[in-house]
């Protein structure tokens, strides 16, 4: 088995594929992951803020019915397996992109899967904030909107960077899965060569590259979170 995977022909073929198909695949994976994460943050972040601020005892209580719908919707989307969500999202994908196959088309289900996740992550982040700091801002005459934009979010920046890093690495994993329904990238290569054509070496290289990408995103995110945190004593 091993000899077959690493046979000279297999290695030669793999090198050819690496040279001809991998550059585009890496680019597609990075592009899809980053754009899907960005859109998911744009949608998920305000929802996460609402989940915290809109509570009964929050700083900007929202109607109870609205909060219930928001919570149930998020839980619902979070509970659908991504593989099935991709198929369920076909009509919407066709509406927005015009097609259901291809790299750009795979961004739609990724965003649908990721924004509720981001909303929950942001919620968790904001809940960690010391409530006394919010009270202090209120005691200085801050309006609810000012508390959100000038206290809750800026004070949570390090934690938000951490959770957005979690989001981007998770979405990277999902994006590989979208190779099954015609999404591009490293996932597609791993599935097409490894699963359908038994070219395990190509699959291994694709997986190794996915691992490397996760490592890069994670170290950059961790570094950003630590660097931005002014609570850690550092010399000015």
């Amino acid at each position: 088995m091993l000899e077959k995977i690493f046979s000279p022909e297999a290695i030669e073929e793999t090198i050819w594929i690496i040279q001809n198909e991998f550059p585009l695949a890496i680019w597609e994976t990075v592009y899809v992951t980053i754009s899907a994460t960005a859109v998911a943050i744009v949608i998920g972040m305000p929802l996460g803020v609402m989940l915290v601020a809109g509570e009964k005892d929050g700083i900007l209580p929202l109607p109870k019915a609205f909060m219930q719908v928001l919570n149930v919707t998020i839980n619902l989307l979070r509970s659908i397996p991504f593989l099935i969500l991709m198929i369920l999202a076909f009509p919407l994908t066709r509406l927005i992109v015009g097609t259901t196959v291809g790299t750009v088309a795979s961004i739609v289900p990724l965003v649908i899967a990721a924004f509720p996740f981001v909303a929950r992550l942001v919620e968790g982040s904001l809940r960690e904030l010391n409530p006394n700091i919010v009270e202090a801002a209120q005691s200085m005459g801050a309006s609810p909107l000012q508390i959100i934009t000038k206290v809750m979010i800026p004070e949570s920046i390090p934690s938000l960077i951490s959770v957005f890093t979690i989001a981007i690495t998770t979405i990277l994993g999902y994006s590989a899965m979208s190779g099954i329904i015609g999404g591009g990238g490293l996932g597609k290569i791993a599935i097409n060569y490894g699963y359908y054509r038994y070219k395990y070496l190509v699959m291994l290289v694709a997986v190794a590259l996915l691992i490397a990408l996760v490592q890069i995103f994670q170290s950059a995110g961790t570094k950003g979170a630590v660097k931005s945190d002014k609570r850690l004593k550092q010399t000015v």
Partner: protein, 253 residues
């Protein structure tokens, strides 16, 4: 300056209604340093939060310069809160902002121009004795220094009243004294009325002119500090002034 009339506050808990404050009436004169002392759970923190309406009283009124602030809408309350500022036991500074920007914060909320705010904040840094800490972050300061920044922040909107909620309880005795001196100084120089909430006798003795003793949500005694402390009439007052046994010895002597 501040008149509290028949103020009560009840909370609904799982075990039923709990009265945190019962029928409190107090009168704080302009320019006074007024102490409110009591054991933990006596209702001090709730009381001080009723003075700026962070807690809404269940009944009774709070008058500031003759104005009933209990009936004001949120937007007007925010203006009142610029006149009645507060410092806290745990300082509650914004940890991701440097000291200068922390002091600018209430000015930013009030819509003051950035440049003006910065200049005034620099001045306040001098007032509290930390002119070189403008660019330092709160985490780089000691507790006492953080409280000084918090005081500067509380002074930024030129308030008429400063509420101190256990402001020295997290500090060591030396630092406590220096913070109390600063508060006394501010009171004298700027004529700001100060209300000090504390459980420490020494704090009241050090700076307050008048004091009210709070016990189980009621004011059991109030008056000039010397009169109240030299001859406490209430059970709670005696407990505070002569903690465990000391009174017996005093009697024998």
């Amino acid at each position: 300056m501040i008149e509290i009339k028949n103020l009560s506050k009840k909370f609904q808990t799982a075990e039923g209604t709990v009265y945190a404050l019962k029928d409190i009436s107090l009168n704080v004169k302009k320019g006074d340093i007024y102490g409110i002392i009591g054991m933990s759970g006596a209702g001090k923190s709730t009381l001080v939060r009723c003075i700026n309406m962070l807690e809404k009283p269940s009944s009774g009124t709070v008058l500031i310069e003759g104005k009933d602030i209990g009936v004001l809408p949120e937007s007007k309350l925010r203006e009142i809160r610029r006149n009645v500022t507060m410092i806290f036991q745990n300082f509650n500074l914004l940890m991701q902002r440097n000291c200068l920007k922390n002091i600018c914060f209430p000015l930013e909320l009030a819509g003051v121009k950035k440049k003006e705010a910065r200049e005034y904040a620099m001045e306040l840094l001098k007032t509290v004795g930390l002119p070189d800490k403008a660019n330092a972050y709160p985490a780089q300061l000691s507790g006492g220094q953080q409280q000084r920044i918090a005081i500067a922040r509380a002074l930024a909107t030129n308030p008429k009243v400063l509420l101190c909620d256990e402001a020295t309880s997290a500090l060591d005795p030396n630092t406590t004294n220096s913070i109390l001196r600063l508060i006394k100084d501010i009171n004298k120089k700027l004529g700001i009325t100060v209300i000090i909430i504390t459980h420490q006798m020494s704090v009241v003795e050090e700076v307050c002119n008048n004091v009210a003793i709070l016990d189980e949500g009621r004011v059991v005694e109030d008056g000039p500090v010397r009169a109240v402390f030299s001859n406490p009439k209430s059970e709670a007052g005696r407990k505070l002034v002569f903690p465990s046994g000391e009174r017996k010895e005093a009697k024998h002597a």
